[in-house]
């Protein structure tokens, strides 16, 4: 559960005209894309992609949604996404309105299958555009990435970032005011990191040590630290 003071703050934030304008712009972006293109929504279970999914599903619920979890990394012998979290993410995606939700990775854990499965889904539904919930405010690198036209070329892929101008407070305000269920992980980790810093990434990531990924996970979810795929089969 989100603490009352945070909830109140996001409710106040949602009353600002700037918030309404940014949300309107994001919704217009999605509307335009749905009108002119055949997109696939890339959903990670994170708060940004959840907002994008919710916005897209309100307008058109027949858009395919693609989710891929990082599963288990055999190289580092470390679980990257606990099964309970994967199940919760899929449940939340369905609650947000996703009718055609493809979930890849959790049955056969392999993080390298992301693009192979994505392209297969896109081919099946004749999609030619990927909708990504990346925001410019997340980092300078992402700010550079989302700059430019609404639909961009990324190598052979066509991508779009409809939420690019939203703030982290806009995202939370949207989730709170629209009563969208989000991953319980956020409330657990926000107590340690704060709602401004909390983000969903692969668990126990050595590459995210500078953001506390590995060490914080070791303290916050020790039950998954040594979990193996063979444990997933157990009831």
């Amino acid at each position: 559960m989100m603490p009352d003071e945070w909830q109140e703050m996001f409710e106040y934030w949602a009353e600002l005209p700037e918030y309404a304008a940014r949300i309107q712009a994001a919704e217009n972006n999605i509307k335009l894309i749905l009108k002119t293109e055949k997109p696939v929504v890339l959903y990670s279970g994170g708060k940004d992609s959840l907002v994008m999914l919710h916005m897209a599903m309100i307008q058109e619920d027949n858009v395919p949604v693609y989710y891929s979890d990082s599963g288990y990394d055999y190289e580092s012998q470390q679980i990257k996404m606990p099964r309970e979290m994967t199940n919760e993410i899929i449940e939340i995606g369905k609650e947000a309105g996703a009718k055609i939700l493809y979930s890849c990775g959790h049955k056969t854990p392999n993080s390298k299958r992301f693009f192979g499965n994505l392209f297969r889904v896109m081919k099946k539904h004749d999609c030619d555009l990927e909708l990504l919930g990346i925001r410019g405010g997340e980092s300078t690198r992402r700010a550079r990435r989302v700059k430019g036209p609404l639909i961009q070329k990324d190598g052979s892929r066509r991508v779009s970032f409809p939420l690019r101008d939203l703030d982290w407070r806009d995202i939370w305000a949207y989730l709170i005011t629209n009563n969208v269920r989000y991953l319980s992980y956020y409330d657990k980790y926000a107590a340690v990191e704060g709602y401004d810093k909390v983000r969903l990434t692969s668990r126990f990531s050595q590459g995210m040590v500078h953001k506390g990924g590995y060490y914080i996970d070791c303290v916050m979810m020790p039950e998954y630290r040594n979990e193996k795929p063979c444990d997933w089969k157990k009831p």
Binding site: E193, H210, G212, Y214, Y215, V219, P222, N226, K228
Partner: protein, 241 residues
């Protein structure tokens, strides 16, 4: 390597055991990469430092020494598990702290060296930024069952607990020892106090409410020591329930 083995084997701990409690007062918050510190690992590290001296810092990491087989701690053992609880903190709060390491360029002119280039992107002088979980506890409590006098002697070397102790985190102010009547190193008030193989102790304590894959003997970072264990904090149920 033979010298190391001989030195460690040469340590003969006393065998008069009694349950006792160790309370460590801290002067600064604790940085951890685990939810708890294992009581026997603290003793093992300090004892090895004392026995091996500078050789302690040159031990093989890829194929760790089987410490449990060659070094005996002054603690009671049951089925290979030492009677030492994990750390008990006086708070449940967890915060985060960012630690920066930067190469000190300010005093470079005082250093007489022929080195003209220092790599800051890799190696010993690499700059880094790391975020750690912080536990703002004032006291850390351990429960042991062993030779209190010997443990008092070994823990006398303890200056700090946790990570990044070189910059002041987890500094120890005072250590107090107290004899207790009951052995609380395995179970206290029905709660599990340290990881131990759940199956091996099912007869004594019952079935734990939480079983996890955890290391149950030192070195706790070695994945070979992982087994399905009763997790600290778990409650035990009898099989009939």
């Amino acid at each position: 390597m033979q010298t190391i083995y001989r030195k460690l084997r040469g340590y003969n701990p006393p065998s008069n055991f009694q349950p006792f409690k160790v309370e460590i007062k801290l002067g600064a918050p604790l940085l951890l990469a685990n939810p708890y510190i294992h009581g026997d690992s603290v003793l093992t590290a300090l004892l090895m430092k004392r026995i091996l001296g500078d050789e302690y810092y040159n031990l093989p990491a890829k194929s760790p020494i089987p410490v449990d087989k060659i070094l005996r701690l002054p603690l009671k053992q049951t089925k290979g598990v030492y009677h030492a609880s994990v750390s008990q903190f006086d708070t449940d709060v967890i915060k985060t702290e960012t630690v920066y390491k930067r190469f000190d360029e300010e005093h470079l002119d005082n250093v007489k060296t022929r080195i003209t280039k220092v790599r800051l992107g890799q190696g010993f002088y690499k700059n880094y930024m790391m975020k750690f979980p912080v536990i703002p506890t004032r006291t850390v409590t351990f429960y042991y069952n062993g030779s209190m006098r010997e443990c008092e002697n070994i823990l006398g070397d303890l200056t700090a607990l946790g990570k990044k102790t070189d910059i002041g985190y987890g500094i120890v102010r005072k250590i107090t020892f107290e004899e207790i009547d009951q052995d609380c190193s395995f179970v206290k008030d029905g709660q599990c106090m340290r990881p131990f193989p759940a199956k091996d102790f099912e007869g004594e304590y019952g079935i734990p409410s939480v079983a996890q894959r955890l290391a149950w003997k030192a070195p706790y970072w070695d994945k070979k020591n992982i087994a399905m264990c009763a997790a600290p904090g778990a409650i035990f149920y009898s099989r009939s329930l």
